[in-house]
Every structure is written in C-alpha cells, then in structure tokens.
C-alpha cells in the first residue's frame, strides 16, 4: 500500500509539492461503512489508571538524586535589575545550582528575541529573575528568599487605552503596538453601511482569562552524558524538542521529550516556556535530575492567558435582515510579549461566519506590562463570538426578527475569503436544526417571573478550523500473538487521543480494542506528529494510524492468503478472525497468522495525506441556553445548554460528549466568573490563585445536552473526522449574554457578566422596565 509523504517547499512565495511516496487508493470510511468499534461509546483506555491515581503525570516523576527547582519572579510590572546577589542562597545547605542574569548564558533568547532567558529588564509581574535547584521544594523556596535583588522600578502600563497613548510608558523600545494593524476588506464596507436600513454599532470587551489547567506547567530534566531527557507537560513533544535543541545548541537526536499523561493544556502548553530550558540548565549545572513545576501562582502570572479584547462592531442590514456590512475594529491585549503558537485571530469569524459582501476588519495587538497571552482553546474565536454573536442578537431585536431567523437569512455556504466551496456547506444548518429542536427554541414558553427571578433564552453560533493536516506518522506492529502496538509521536493531553486512535486501528484491523495498545508521548519512540492544538489530533494523527493499519492489514491478508490458499481480495477480518468470503469454514485467527510468521513481524507505516485543495474545511456549531436572572442580587444562573457541533465523523461519542461538556463549562466560567484582575496602580495581579480566580466547578455547571452531529467529511481525510476540542467553548458565553438580555431586557457587553455590571445596567434602565411583565416578546414565542 502506498504511503504518502507530502513536503511543501517554500521558496519565496512559490509553493512546491514534493511527493516522496505516491498515494492512491486508500479506502475511505464513507457514509455507508458499517462499523464495529468506531462510533461506539468507549471509555478511556487509561481511565482506570487515572481514577485510581496510578497514572503518572509530570509531577510524579521521581528519579534518583532528583532536585527540585523554584523560580524567583519579578515583583514589579516593569523594572531593571540593578544588582543581583545569590551568595547567601548558594550557601544554604541543600542548594545545588542557581541561575540568574549574573551567570546564565547570555545568548539564549525568548519571546521573539525580546527577552533573554534571564533578562535584566523585567516586563511583567512573574517575569523570571532567578532559579534555584535544591534537595527539596522547601529548600529551593528558602533559597529564593535569600537572593538579594536591587530593582529599579520603571514606569509601566496596564490599561489598553493608556497603552495606546503617544506618551504611554513603553513596554518595548518600539512602543506598545505589536505590529502594523492587520486589515482585511472585501467589497466596500462603508458603502455597505450606507445601504443598510438598520445599523448596530457597539463596543464589546472581553477579559483576560487564565487557562488554569489542573496540572501546572513544568518538567523534569535529566542529562545522561550529552543526552537530555525532558519529562514535560506539553501539547507538543516534537515542538518542545525542536525548540529546546535550538536554544541549547543541541542536535535533535540528543534531546528526548516524554509526555505520558497530562492534566490539560488548553493551548498554554503548545509552546515551550522558559522554565523548560531553565530546568535543563539547572540539571546540567548540578549534575542531577531537576524537576521544575510551576505553582498555582506562577501558573496564573507567567504561563499564558487568553488575550483581553476591545471590539468595536458595526453591522448593517436591510429590513428583511440581509447583512450589507460587517465592520470590526479589534484591539488584542497581548501582555508583555508575543509567545508564538496558534495566533489569536479575532477578525476571522467576522470574515467567515455570515454571508456578507462588504466586510472590513482591522486588528491590532497591544503590549501591556502583564503576563503574556498564548493560545487558549479557540483563540480569537471565543473573543470574537462574544461580540459578533451579541451584535447579531442586537440586530435581530432591532429588526424584530427571531435571532435564529436572522442567522438563517445570512447563511453562508461558501468560504467567502477564498471564494471556495465549503466541504460541508450544510453543516451549520444541521447544527442549528438539531440544537434548536432539542432545546425547544421555537416552542419555548417563558415561565412567569417568580419573585425577583426572570427566565430567558439565547442562541449563538460559531465556526472554526479543525480539519487536521499533514504531516503526522504512525506505525502499526503486529505481534506474534495477534496483538497490536500502535506507535506514534503524538501526545494525549487529556482529551482521550489514545482511545480514539486505538478505535481507528481496531476497526481497520478487525480486532477487539483489547488487543490494541497505543504508545505515544515520546520523541525517542514514535515518529513525528504535530502539536496537539487547533483541535487536530484525531483529524491529523487518526488518518496516519488509519493508513498504517490499512498497510498492516494488507500484509497480514497476503500472508493469510498463502496459508488459506486463497486470493487476498477474498479475505476479510472480523472479530480477530480472517475469513474467506462465502466459505465460513475456511478461516484462521489473526493470532494464528501472526504466530506462524513470528518472530518475523508485520509493520505498517502510515502518513497523513493532504486535505482536499478545492474546498475549505471548517467546523461549525450552535448552542441554545436558558438562564435565570435574579434582578435583586444580579446573579445569573445558567439552567441548561443544548449544543450541536459538527466535528465530522464521531469516532467515540463518549469523548465527544466530554469535550462538549468541558467546553461549555469553560464557557460558563468565561461568561460569568473568570477574569484576571490587575490593580492598575501597582500592576499587581490580585487573584493569582484558585480561591479568587473563579473557575466553575461541578457545583456551578448547568444541565448540558450534546446533540450528536455525525457528518463524515471526506474532504478532510479518509476517516471523515474533524476536530471537537476547541469549538464547544466558543458559542457558550454569547448565548448566555443573549439569554440574559432576553430575560431582563438589559444588554451586557463586557465579559464576564458580573453581578455588579448587571445591577448597574438594570439601574440605568430602571425607568424603562416594567418589572411586572417580561420586557419584550420575541417573534415565534411568547
């Protein structure tokens, strides 16, 4: 079976494709394929290990002679280190190594070369000042207290509007604008506004939210000779290897990155941070393995966050709801540095979600003296949806249209940016239909207010990528006893990738899942796979496993055909048995075939092929929400959320549900409670902990329903799978905000929707609200 290996060579603007191995004739899982393992609920293969506490995470690594590192961080939002003295700390018993700007290599840079590994200029509270490796975490912390630093505090800026003033303190020498604005225009947006019968113009803001993965960032570093091993909590073992090798000037084969189990990353672990290289250097300096895990405070200060935004939105529409113009001016607050990884394209959804001939977006990044942002589950889209989907709701109200009707009227079946068809032009339509039907959108009867409680409903939609792409590789090894090892260099960041990949292999090979082991998370053992970001692991690596399994099966059937004295084309594998078509007696188990072959071995190699070129592959979703608002306390309770998300073929319904429920939960946090709060006078983060930074827990989540949308997308790959990791979070917050408006007739345009904001908004509109009756009636409901 041919394996495809596509290499894209970029030469100036030319793109050349080099086909290393030809690909043709891979079978596909189309809509008629019958499945035995795929599409069935399957609990996680490592679930028992996790719930019994036996699964080992980065923090659980314990090596002989291991030291523990701690990092001294800048207490100032902007400062210069005048002098640093680590002598007292060095003398503390149990301390083995100390790094700071005084002794760290000067040539290792970070954040687009804007900072050294230990820089003398500190640009946010949490910036690395020094690091200590000692025999216990406690010794390391004591040592930090003994480091003497003379800081020269510098003027700083925290607030985005202030940062854009000409005389603002400069975060970087060139000023506080990250770059020239990114401008997109199609048609003529100004003319589109003039054509409109109704124009909505509003400014929405979204907050800085912190990922707060349950497992913090960190790693254990260990050198054997010039061979460095890193047990790292990362979404990208190969990305980490490449960057660490580059920073330390090592050849890639001298760096091994291992990630077995992971307690979440949500985007914040898709790039290596300074601490990984710091741990490696401390380990080198001390000659011991060094573990450097961030504590919760550092996790909140210096390990990434979702950029705050200010979005000025203008929508123009005809009386019947047809959009004539979409305009968005977007400020993205990036923090003190650009970190890399997936970009936060807040502009993207304005350009794609609705059919509109005249669109203009302008996006600018702004530096401030606070912890840097990094991709956070659907970066840009969560922020954009909060504004765009609320603006659409405002437009619907202004036009006295049902918000769903307005969305349908502006439905886009093509990729308007590239003027290409969408691979699944009706996917969003299906999401609307399934979500609203399961929710009872059309037939909703608003309960009469009870005391201060008011009910309301809201809807929001979104689009996202998630097609997956090459390159990704996998090997399938058939053992003598008929069991299978799937080997790939991807990682399971807590999403259940292991299980999804095992299901693909089991299906192709006709074996029960118990006969499959998936080995991943080790650069030394598996072939290259991409960073688990952009909702792409199953859609990128799944097809590689598929191709490898197809190849292994081809070899297996060739051998079986010899043994059964048959043509391979007439053989099929079912439930671990190789059978001849129409001859039930003529069969061999897979184990019998591999047993005859042993110790020779069948190895299938697979690669991820390219996506269809003539179509644009996107994912879509819609959520309906019912809330209850207490007009006395300002409390918003999300009662229920019904979600429908297009993710192509569903390999494992249980895991898709998990992603949807997790996404909605984060969406509820983003909508209602999560916000990094910075004191503007001193630049201090006031809630760098989980007591004061409020993530929703099981006590706070609504009733959630995920309505499956199983639309195999064969333009994406032969398995028809697209991503579901990020999307479920995107529409939740705007749907909640729209439902709040529906309940009380007051529009909240700033995330999170705090009680204080709600009460203040109610107070300003108090005169116009008749408390005894619902504030308004929607078309199609009462």
């Amino acid at each position: 079976m041919p394996i495809q290996h596509i290499k894209v060579l970029r030469n100036g603007t030319d793109e050349e494709e080099l086909k290393v191995v030809e690909t043709t004739g891979l079978p596909t899982w189309d809509a008629d394929t019958k499945f035995t393992v795929v599409g069935r609920p399957q609990s996680r293969l490592e679930g028992l290990e996790k719930v019994t506490g036996r699964a080992r995470y980065s923090y659980d690594v314990r090596l002989s002679g291991q030291l523990y590192a701690a990092v001294l961080r800048s207490p100032y939002p902007h400062a210069r280190i005048r002098h640093i003295d680590t002598t007292k700390a060095e003398q503390l018993p149990g301390v083995h190594a100390i790094l700071s700007s005084a002794n760290a290599p000067d040539d290792i840079t970070w954040y687009e070369e804007k900072s050294k590994l230990f820089d003398k200029t500190l640009r946010f509270i949490g910036d690395e000042v020094a690091a200590v490796a000692a025999e216990s975490e406690e010794f390391a912390q004591d040592a930090l207290r003994l480091i003497e630093v003379a800081y020269e505090p510098l003027p700083f800026v925290i607030e985005v509007e202030a940062a854009l003033q000409p005389d603002a303190p400069r975060v970087h020498d060139k000023g506080n604008r990250v770059d020239e604005p990114t401008i997109y225009e199609r048609g003529n947006a100004a003319a589109g506004l003039r054509e409109a019968d109704v124009v909505i113009e509003q400014t929405y803001t979204t907050q800085t939210a912190v990922h707060n993965s349950l497992e913090p960032h960190g790693c254990t570093a260990f050198w054997e000779g010039d061979q460095l091993t890193l047990w790292e909590s990362t979404q990208g073992i190969f990305e980490t290897r490449e960057q660490v090798a580059e920073k330390l000037g090592l050849p890639e084969h001298h760096v091994r990155v291992v990630k077995e189990h992971m307690g979440g990353g949500f985007g914040s672990k898709q790039v290596p941070w300074k601490q990984t290289v710091i741990a490696a250097l401390l380990s080198k300096q001390s000659g011991h393995p060094v573990q450097l895990m961030l504590d919760r405070e550092a996790e909140n200060l210096a390990a990434g966050n979702r950029n705050a935004t200010v979005q000025r939105v203008r929508l123009g529409a005809k009386r019947d709801g047809t959009l004539t113009a979409i305009l968005a001016d977007i400020q993205v607050v990036v923090g003190a540095y650009m970190v890399g990884g997936e970009a936060s394209e807040v502009n993207g959804m304005y350009e794609r979600l609705y059919r509109c001939p005249n669109v203009r977006t302008e996006q600018i990044g702004v530096y401030i003296n606070a912890g840097p942002c990094v991709a956070f589950r659907a970066p840009g889209h969560v922020e954009a949806a909060f504004a765009l989907e609320a603006a659409m709701d405002e437009l619907a109200r202004a036009l006295q249209l049902d918000p769903l009707t307005l969305r349908n009227r502006n439905y886009s079946e093509i990729d308007q940016k590239k003027e290409k068809p969408l691979s699944m032009p009706n996917a969003l339509q299906v999401c609307y239909e399934r979500a609203t039907a399961a929710f009872g959108w059309q037939t909703y009867q608003r309960p009469a207010p009870t005391g201060p409680k008011r009910r309301g409903i809201g809807i929001a939609a979104h689009e996202w990528g998630g097609s997956g792409q090459p390159p990704a590789y996998a090997w399938i090894k058939l053992n003598g006893d008929g069991t299978v090892d799937v080997v790939t260099g991807t990682q399971d960041i807590g999403t259940g990738a292991r299980t999804g990949l095992a299901q693909v292999a089991a299906e192709v090979l006709g074996l029960p899942i118990e006969q499959i082991s998936v080995h991943l998370g080790d650069t030394a053992k598996g072939p290259y796979s991409p960073t688990s970001a952009g909702s792409s692991t199953q859609a990128s690596v799944g097809p590689a496993v598929f191709a490898a399994a197809v190849e292994a099966k081809r070899q297996l059937l060739e051998v079986a055909a010899k043994l059964l004295e048959e043509e391979p084309e007439r053989l099929e594998i079912r439930d671990g048995v190789v059978m001849v078509e129409g001859e039930p007696e003529n069969k061999l188990t897979v184990a019998e075939v591999t047993g005859r072959l042993a110790p020779h071995m069948i190895i299938g190699q697979g690669a991820r092929g390219p996506n269809a070129k003539d179509k644009t592959i996107r994912t879509f979703g819609a959520q309906c929400v019912e809330v209850e608002v207490d007009v006395e306390t300002g409390e918003i309770t999300v009662l229920r959320v019904v979600a429908a998300h297009d993710c192509g073929r569903i390999i494992n319904p249980t895991m898709v549900d998990s992603q949807v429920f997790g996404g909605i939960t984060q969406g509820v946090g983003f909508a209602l409670t999560e916000e990094r709060i910075v004191d503007e006078k001193r630049g201090l983060v006031l809630n760098a902990n989980l007591e004061e930074y409020k993530i929703p827990t099981v006590a706070d989540i609504p009733q959630m329903t995920n309505v499956p949308v199983n639309l195999p997308d064969l333009a994406a790959n032969p398995t028809g799978v697209k991503g579901i990791g990020e999307p479920p979070l995107v529409p939740t917050a705007p749907a909640i905000a729209n439902a709040v408006f529906d309940a009380i007739g007051v529009r909240l345009r700033h995330a999170p929707l705090s009680r204080r904001q709600l009460l203040a908004a109610l107070a300003t509109q108090a005169e116009s609200i008749d408390k005894s009756a619902p504030p308004h009636t929607q078309e199609g409901q009462s």
Binding site: E137, E138, Q141, D295, P452, E632, T633, G634, T673, I677, L686, N687, L690, E691, E692, K694, D700, R755, R756, L759
Partner: protein, 283 residues
C-alpha cells in the same frame, strides 16, 4: 507554599495545654488547622510553636442541658450539621461551610476564635444568643456571643485562654441562616442568621445578625425592632430587612469579590431570606 519552621507539641488534656501554653510564649494552639495552616503557609503567621489541642476529649461533643445545648469547642462542623438537638439556623449554617473536607476538620471553637469576618458561625451564635465559655489557667468565664466578637479577627479571648464550649439556647423559636457564597471557598460574602418567635399571629421575639459585611458579626437591632408586634408576612419582612442599612452604618467592607456598595445593596435580600425561613419554622 510551605509554613515557616515550628515546634509541635500535643496536649492530651486541658491542664497539659495550659502548661504548654505557659511554657511556650507566642505559641499558637491548633485545632482543625483549617485557618491556621493556611495563614502559616502564606507566612502571615510565624508562631514558632504549635500546641495541638485536637485530641483533648473534654472539649468534644454535644450535650443537651435543659433549654440549652452545649457544643464542645473541638466539635467539627460536620457533627454540628448532623446534630438533632440544635436550632436549624445553626445546623444549616454548619452544613454550608466550605466543603466536606473543611467540615470534617474545622472546629466550632477554631472558627469563632479565628473570627474571620466572612465566617458563618459568629453570625449564627450572635443571632441565637449563644454563650461562649472560656477556660484559662485561672478558671472559667462566660461571654455572650454578641460581646465575644470585637473586631476584624479580634475576640474577647485573652492571652492564655481557650474557648472550651458554646451554650446555644434551644427555646428561641424558629431559626434560619442565609448566605451568598464565595463561589470558591464558600465563605459568606453576606450571611444572615435570624431567629423569631410568633405568638398570637405576631412576632413576639426576634434576633437577627449579619456577617461578611463589617469587621465582625453584627446584631441587627433596627431590623429586630421593626419586626416586633408585626405579623410576619412578605411586606413586613421586606420592610424590616430594609432596616439593615441602619444597623450597618458606614462600615461595610469591600474586596475583590464584592464591593462595599454591592454588599450593602444585597444585604436586605439575605436578611429577608433568613427571616422568611425562620418565620416558617416558628410554627
């Protein structure tokens, strides 16, 4: 985060506790440790020595005694929450403290000795007219709950004294507790405890206290006065609850979770909630 160095002593009896306290000036006693250990870890306290009173049997348990019930200082919140012979306002407040781990470790004595302005039990004991029994090397004395809480983390406890028990009257009428939770810790952003008696259809006795608003649990005299002699219905309760602004004066505190204005504006809601539930239990 880890605490500064300390020496650890375990007292097996009250007298042993007192002699250890005398021996180690500046030492802190530790009961459930759920307030003390966090403050050590945050390095807000550095007492040098801890005296563990957690195993002193004399300070544990709940015993009914005529018209009042005695709760030993070391009784955990979980045990109070499950008790049958205590006013409902107290058992429900204890059941809403933190989470199961906190309720299984935290003690009633530690809670009131710590006197966190956001704690629930000071508010409840104040409203219920409880008596705090204190023991020192020189003997016992009793202080009314209302006088025990004197300021932010401040009480009438004197150097060398321990809280030994709390006497809670059980004939005070219907009682209830209402609070706005801090969503993470479950401490009270605003808490209100109320106890009322109804005779001949009108309120014959009312005792109300609020917490989370000012430096310490506050008795709501104006609210109480507005209830006496009135039938307890929605209108009279709302009118009385509105009086809470009189009782609070200008001293309402604000923080990250809730501004002073917000707390002040929602206080009447929780006062009314507690009163409504207490009235329905007054029989």
């Amino acid at each position: 985060m880890y605490p500064p160095k300390f020496d650890y002593y375990r007292a097996n009896s009250l007298s042993e506790a007192f002699s250890l306290m005398q021996e180690h000036g500046g030492a802190k006693v530790i009961a459930g440790g759920h307030s003390l250990i966090p403050s050590l870890k945050l390095r807000l306290a550095d007492p040098g020595a801890l005296i563990d009173i957690g195993r002193i049997g004399e300070l544990k348990g709940i015993t009914a005694n005529g018209n009042s019930t005695r709760i030993g200082a070391l009784t955990t919140h979980a045990i109070v929450a499950a008790a049958k012979n205590l006013p409902q306002g107290l058992t429900e407040a204890a059941g809403w403290i933190g989470d199961p781990q906190v309720r299984n470790r935290g003690t009633v004595g530690g809670n009131i000795a710590h006197a966190d302005p956001a704690s629930d039990l000071p508010t409840v004991f104040t409203a219920l007219g409880a008596t705090i029994n204190l023991t020192g090397p020189g003997g016992e004395r009793s202080v009314a709950a209302q006088d025990f809480f004197t300021g932010l983390f401040e009480t009438a406890l004197q150097e060398g004294e321990l809280v030994s028990s709390i006497d809670v009257p059980t004939n005070g009428g219907g009682s209830a507790y209402a609070k706005l939770f801090n969503p993470a810790s479950r401490y009270a952003v605003v808490g209100c405890a109320a106890q009322v008696k109804v005779e001949n259809g009108v309120c014959s006795a009312a005792s109300v206290a609020v917490g989370g608003l000012t430096s310490h649990a506050t008795k709501a005299n104006a609210v109480e006065a507005a209830l006496l002699g009135k039938p307890l219905n929605e209108a009279t309760i709302a009118a009385a609850a509105a009086q809470i602004s009189q009782d609070l004066g200008d001293d309402v505190m604000g923080d990250l979770h809730a501004s002073a204005d917000y707390r002040r504006s929602i206080a009447p809601i929780y006062v009314a909630q507690a009163l409504t539930a207490a009235a329905s239990r007054a029989g």
